[in-house]
């Protein structure tokens, strides 16, 4: 194989090494282009990862459904009627709509987003208190800093346990004080703390300062009966959330005698929409990054072609001598194209290494900081391979221009004495 021919490569490196400064200047364009490409891609990936980190633990294919007041009269009912979900609704929905994967009913103390005073040792906290099923954790993962989340056992035995938010902890405890196993008092009932969670700063549906207790305990402690406040629902991954959303609403409207055209009686929030918007945004960003990067790369490779053209012109005599000594056009062409590839690939690697360095520094500085929507800025293996294949492809195509110029040199013209 000629590609392993040591002489071919020493020929190429001898030519490139002959004028190191010019070779370096030539490479600069591609080095910078590669840096730009990798930084752009890395940045776009980092943003995508950043959003993913923000949404981590929140099922993307999920929705929330809650009851409001009717806005249209229907079947003899006046408008403005307050709808109250019942726990049986959860069972009915789960039975009738098989696309529902997890359904977590919830009830809260006081009115919606109401605040209840939580007491401990003379300290108080105005918190939202939720009665939850443990499976809510499958839809909105709680990041626990200590202890555990509610479990099935708490539910079946209606244990008087609670999981509190970090904010609640700060209000009720001294700094560094142990909270697990301690009791707090809500509406005269004592609850034992089993876990402390850190709220997600970026998606905050439950509020900063919240207390979770098992749904069954809630029913008994506060006498809520079969009432249900709202539902967190995740649907199967191959199903579109809006489809299930309208199915749920149709079913509930029918059950509670709500006018099918009444848009206000049942509230809902489609989480997948947010995800789709974000992923569309980062997708476009990645596309634009790649496009800009590739164009920059093209400009860099064209610069190499230009320099090689000049080089060929300068080397007219040398090429003429080689031709007179028996170099076939193919050999000459191959050498110029290989020079183009060698410069491009080498420059590409240098630029790549520098850019990866920059990304590593950026990663280091960002770290786990969740205020910045960037996380783990890196380019993927396919992106890396794609860029390189493209770069080599471009360098071959572009290298053909000076190569064809070189083989048009006739030895007789090149060797003509001035």
């Amino acid at each position: 194989m000629w590609i392993f021919d040591r002489d071919l490569w020493s020929e190429i490196f001898a030519t490139l090494g002959k004028n190191l400064f010019r070779t370096f200047l030539t490479m600069l364009g591609v080095i910078i282009a590669m840096i730009i490409l990798v930084l752009l891609l890395g940045g776009a990936n980092g943003m995508s990862n950043g959003f993913q980190k923000i949404f981590a633990g929140t099922a993307s294919n999920s929705l929330f459904v809650w009851s409001q007041s009717t806005s249209e009269p229907y079947k003899g009912f006046e408008r403005g009627r307050r709808i109250q979900f019942k726990l049986e609704d959860a069972t009915i929905l789960k039975e009738q709509i098989p696309e529902i994967e997890v359904l977590a009913p919830r009830i809260e103390l006081g009115s919606h987003r109401g605040v209840v005073t939580v007491y401990r040792n003379g300290l108080t906290s105005g918190s939202a208190v939720y009665g939850d099923y443990p499976n809510v954790d499958e839809i909105m993962k709680k990041k626990l800093v200590e202890g555990r989340f509610l479990n099935e056992n708490d539910m079946t035995e209606s244990k008087k346990v609670c999981v509190i938010g970090e904010e609640t902890y700060k209000l009720l405890f001294e700094k560094g004080e142990n909270a697990i196993g301690e009791d707090v008092r809500i509406n005269g009932v004592f609850f034992n703390i089993v876990g402390i969670y850190k709220p997600n700063q970026n998606i905050n549906i439950d509020g900063e300062n919240s207390v979770y207790i098992p749904f069954s305990t809630f029913q008994k402690a506060f006498g809520s009966g079969d009432r249900m406040g709202w539902m967190a629902i995740s649907v199967q991954s191959d199903t579109k959330v809006p489809v299930v959303e309208s199915q749920i609403k149709r079913l509930l409207k029918n059950k509670y005698d709500i006018n099918p055209t009444d848009e206000r009686a049942i509230g809902s929030f489609d989480m997948s929409e947010v995800f789709n918007n974000v992923s569309a945004f980062t997708g476009v960003l990645q596309g634009v990054s790649f496009f800009v990067g590739i164009l920059t790369l093209l400009a860099g490779v064209i610069a190499i072609s230009n320099i090689l053209l000049i080089t060929v012109k300068e080397r007219t005599k040398e090429i003429g001598i080689r031709r007179a000594l028996g170099a076939t056009p193919k050999v000459v062409k191959r050498q110029i194209v290989l020079e183009s590839i060698v410069i491009t690939v080498f420059a590409g690697f240098v630029g790549f290494a520098i850019a990866i360095g920059f990304l590593a520094i950026a990663n280091n500085m960002i770290g786990e900081n969740s205020d910045v929507p960037f996380y783990n800025l890196m380019i993927s293996i396919p992106q890396f391979l794609g860029s390189f294949v493209l770069m080599v492809g471009l360098s071959v195509l572009i290298g053909l221009i000076p190569a064809n110029r070189a083989i048009r040199i006739k030895p007789i013209d090149a060797l003509r004495e001035e």
Binding site: R6, D7, A14, T15, K18, K317, E318, G320, I321, R322, R323, A324, L325, G326, A327, T328, P329, K330, V331, I407, K410, P411, I412, L415, E417
Partner: protein
Amino acid sequence: MIQIKDLHKSYKMGKNSLHVLKGINFNVEEGELVAIMGSSGSGKSTLLNILGMLDSSDSGEYILDNVPIKDLNETKAARYRNKFLGFVFQSFNLINYKSAAENVALPLYYQKVPRKERQEKALKYLEQVGLKEWAGHLPSELSGGQKQRVAIARALAAEPKVLLADEPTGALDSKTSYEVMDLIQKINDAGNTILIVTHEPDIADMCKRIVHLKDGVIIEDKKIEQVRAEQYV
């Protein structure tokens, strides 16, 4: 070794056609040392270019070592040049970033001779021209005479049938010229066929035969008593 019959060549210069070679006939036997003389514009360089397959003729026959040279494409011409011919130029035409040995080895590289053998041969021919110690030097570190001797070694390295020298002493002072001619004579003594284009009579007298060109035709073709260059060195 070389048979040429009724060779014509003209160049188009705009509307005018310049008839440079107007029917050249001559033969060269193996082992000859021929000087091709003529003033500038006589067609001697064109003849050499055609002999060197750097240019093609319009009509006529050219047979080199019983191989008819015709219908050459670039690749074929390059192969024939590499196989049959060694070139020596007035301005040496060494590749300036390659050492003397690398320059000598270059035609062998295009013959796909293995690396080691190439290096050995290059040293052998450098020794023959008396420059073995200079093998690792770049052309810029050599004198004009040394450069031309490296070029001669390079021309010899491919073991060609014919050595073509275009004004080999044109860029050298007389003393160096005689040294180079001495070398050429010795190479000829060893049985190599050599053609030299020159316009210097003293150089021509050091050959065994002088072919005189004028206005595209041979006006004189005589065998002469060779003047040995040795005595001037």
